[in-house]
């Protein structure tokens, strides 16, 4: 045994960590909002933007989980998402309604997934190459088909005509009450109310579908025999094979499901745009960001939800509020770093604590010395945050052991 076992893993159950994480995040934001006087940090519209922008990323991230848990790297998510946007718009054009759009998005994404599966599982092609090719193919096919089918309807080869989208729902009474709380500007309570209100107003069934898919992914992959088999293919396919698991089949299913989820992500993008149309280039690298959200989330649905939320939040905040608000995020960073220092001191990790302390001071100095950040960097706030978070937490990440490894039936020993 040359591997020393990693430090004992927490005994706290996953859901508790998740709840704790939410509480911590809300706490930090509320504190920052209070100290910097930036209510936008926790306003209901910020929350809604987070949902709008985060949902397609979340769905792509879930797609990533399915593929990678079975050991298949899928950087073709972007291409599959593009196919999904096209399919969703086509369903709308055919008059199948928004649920039809979701279904068609899934089907078209799944086709991309199937191609990836054929190349990688059956032919053993390097997963990355196949993914790159599928990104090219997805973009090309969608362009080609939209010239063929949408252009006559919309007079525009790059756009589909607008399609039907979901009606939205609000828990009106609750929302109003929360709205009152939010407007009272009371510390913490108003913040929580604002965030919650964003979640209960103008809720699209798409959001519900997204959240359900998070739970479904968790339940299927971690609570069913099928999920166990699928994950075993990502951890040790030879062992799985030796126990009678049909590894090829599970990998196929996983990659196709992955494509379907990315396709649903595409549908969410189409249905969440106003007007709801397919539009060339609309995915804008969300597939890659979905992958990042998945890694951020440690290949787990809850974590991916958090990652997608982070991306959506940072992007939404940057787009919808003034530069001061984003500037206030620096303050949040200082608080986080401060908490980290305390935690590391508690764990007697002196060097890490010292590093975090230096970081906190540096960020605070930046906060203090500037009024706003150069606007050129603001669109990349989510990316910078991701880097920082990764720098602090990467060692806890645990990718599937056989992720990306070639596997052929009967070749193990």
């Amino acid at each position: 045994m040359t591997v020393t076992p990693p430090p004992r893993r927490r005994a706290v159950p996953g859901w508790a960590m998740f709840v704790f994480g939410i509480v911590a995040v809300v706490g930090v934001l509320a504190t920052t909002s209070f100290l910097t006087g930036e209510p936008a940090l926790t306003s209901s519209s910020t929350m809604q933007n987070t949902v709008t922008l985060g949902l397609p990323i979340l769905l792509c991230g879930l797609g990533g989980i399915w593929a990678e848990r079975s050991g298949m790297i899928n950087i073709g998510l972007e291409g599959m998402m593009i196919l999904g946007t096209w399919g969703a718009a086509w369903a709308g054009v055919l008059g199948l309604g928004p649920y039809g759009s979701v279904l068609f998005g899934a089907i078209f994404g799944a086709l991309g997934g199937a191609l990836h599966a054929i190349a990688t599982v059956s032919f053993g092609v390097n997963h990355i190459v196949s993914g790159v090719a599928i990104n090219l193919l997805g973009a090309g096919v969608a362009k080609y088909l939209s010239t063929l089918i949408f252009a006559p309807l919309s007079d525009n080869p790059r756009d589909s005509p607008p399609i039907d989208r979901f009606d939205t729902f609000s828990a009106q009474g609750l929302a109003d009450w929360l709205g009152e709380l939010e407007s009272e500007q009371r510390a913490v309570i108003s913040d929580v109310a604002g965030l919650l209100r964003g979640l209960v107003t103008r809720v699209s069934p798409m959001l519900i579908i997204g959240i359900l898919l998070v739970f479904a992914t968790y339940l299927v992959l971690w609570r069913t025999r099928f999920g166990l088999r699928l994950r075993s293919c990502g951890e040790n396919p030879v062992a799985a094979e030796s126990l009678g698991v049909n590894v090829y089949l599970h990998k196929y299913i996983a990659v196709i499901a992955s494509g379907a989820l990315a396709g649903i992500g595409g549908a969410a993008l189409v249905l969440g745009s106003s007007p709801s149309i397919y539009s060339e280039g609309q995915t804008a690298n969300r597939g890659f960001i979905g992958l990042a959200a998945m890694i951020f989330g440690n290949w787990r649905p809850g974590g991916t939800l958090a990652g997608a939320g982070l991306f959506g939040y940072a992007d939404g905040l940057r787009l919808s509020s003034g530069p001061e608000t984003v500037h206030a995020l620096l303050y949040a960073a200082v608080i986080c770093a401060g908490l980290l220092v305390i935690w590391q001191l508690f764990r007697r990790k002196w060097t890490t604590a010292a590093l975090a302390g230096v970081g906190a001071v540096a960020v605070y100095a930046l906060y203090y010395a500037t009024d706003e950040l150069p606007s050129e960097f603001l669109p990349y706030t989510p990316h910078i945050i991701t880097l920082v978070v990764l720098a602090l937490a990467a060692q806890r990440l645990r990718p599937p052991a056989a992720n990306g490894m070639p596997y052929r039936r009967g070749e193990g020993d």
Partner: protein, 359 residues
């Protein structure tokens, strides 16, 4: 379930709105247009058109250029079979543009019109190789270009100034929003003129601006959801009129305006009549028109008449190269007379519109 958002307001009147300056003197004269077109005969011309990404049918810029060509076919006898259109692709490098232009030139097209400032260098280079061919670049400019290159530039800031005037008159909250697609000088021209127009009418008004992406990241022109979020943010900050120069992302801007029941201003073409945003037409009070079609048509006509000198150096208000639309009837006569008065002042040089934002 949420009810569909209530019918668009089309804006209130400015009774409760912003404090405005005194109304300028009424417009005196009509506008002049370049008239070279009338005598031109284009039947001998072989016209090449090099589009930017998107090409004919993009319901925007390229389409507008195409319309200019169509007009030339209809009005001055350019033969359709004598025209050729090529389109740029995403992420292409400079030599793709060079090849495209060279191909058109070698096939004997003359004149050759390229669409978009990205063609500037390439056109200058190819024009030097083909000194007997006439070239034009919509939106383009380079220094020391060969004589056979014509730059068809627009005074977007002037048109934006006028819609700024309209916005200031229509706003009740006295806060006005601007959403730019990508933070590049071209789009900054829109912002600059718009801000100046607003401030000229209502010095106390506040213009809040947001760009979707920064220079270099062209997705800002194609990301409706982000356009919507950006516009919504501006509306949350109090804006009740939102102007966009964000290409396809503008759809999201309209959606946000509609959802919040505020007014929106379109860009480039008369977006009130555009199919893809028909859903939101009731909040589109006007659009800033950038008459690429006019410029392309005038240019072809001038080549046909062998009279390039007749072209204006810039397609501005004076030559109707830019303007504003009134479709939908959201602009009442009073507002219109303000806009016309300022238009006249700009044409006469009494007001000089800046093309770079103050901040």
């Amino acid at each position: 379930k949420d009810s569909g958002s209530s019918n668009g307001s089309g804006g209130g009147n400015n009774a409760a709105g912003c404090k405005t300056v005194d109304k300028p003197a009424a417009a005196s004269a009509g506008t002049t247009t370049s008239e070279a077109a009338t005598e031109a005969d284009g039947s001998a011309l072989k016209v090449g058109l090099a589009f930017d990404i998107g090409g004919r049918g993009d319901a925007s810029f390229n389409d507008s250029a195409a319309a200019g060509l169509d007009q030339a076919i209809a009005e001055i006898g350019v033969k359709k079979e004598n025209t050729k259109e090529l389109t740029a692709t995403d992420q292409e490098s400079e030599d793709a543009k060079l090849t495209r232009l060279r191909q058109l030139a070698q096939e004997g097209h003359n004149p050759i019109v390229s669409v978009g400032f990205a063609y500037s260098d390439a056109t200058a280079k190819i024009a030097a190789e083909f000194p007997n061919t006439q070239f034009a670049v919509v939106d383009g400019f380079v220094e020391n270009a060969p004589a056979n290159v014509t730059f068809l530039g627009f005074a977007e800031h002037e048109g934006s100034f006028l819609v700024g005037v309209i916005a200031a008159l229509k706003s009740e909250s006295c806060t006005i929003g601007f959403v730019g697609g990508v933070n590049v000088p071209l789009i900054q021209k829109f912002q600059a003129g718009f801000e100046q127009g607003v401030k000229t009418v209502a010095p106390d008004a506040e213009v809040v601006s947001k760009y979707i992406t920064e220079a270099g990241d062209l997705t800002g022109f194609a990301d409706a959801p982000k356009g919507q979020v950006a516009a919504k943010g501006l509306i949350d900050q109090g804006a009740d009129v939102v102007y966009h120069a964000a290409g396809a992302s503008g759809k999201g801007v309209f959606a946000a305006a509609k959802e919040a029941n505020v007014m929106a201003i379109g860009v480039d073409s008369d977006q009130y009549n555009q199919k893809t945003v028909a859903e939101y037409k009731d909040v589109i009070i006007t659009s800033m028109l950038k008459r690429v079609d006019v410029a392309v048509f005038d240019y072809i006509a001038a080549v046909a008449a062998n009279d390039l000198a007749s072209l204006p150096p810039v397609f501005d208000l004076k030559v109707d190269g830019v303007g504003y639309s009134t479709s939908g009837g959201k602009i009442d006569d009073e507002t219109k007379s303000w806009a016309e008065a300022y238009k006249q002042q700009i044409i006469e040089g009494e007001i000089e519109v800046s093309d770079a934002p103050s901040s």
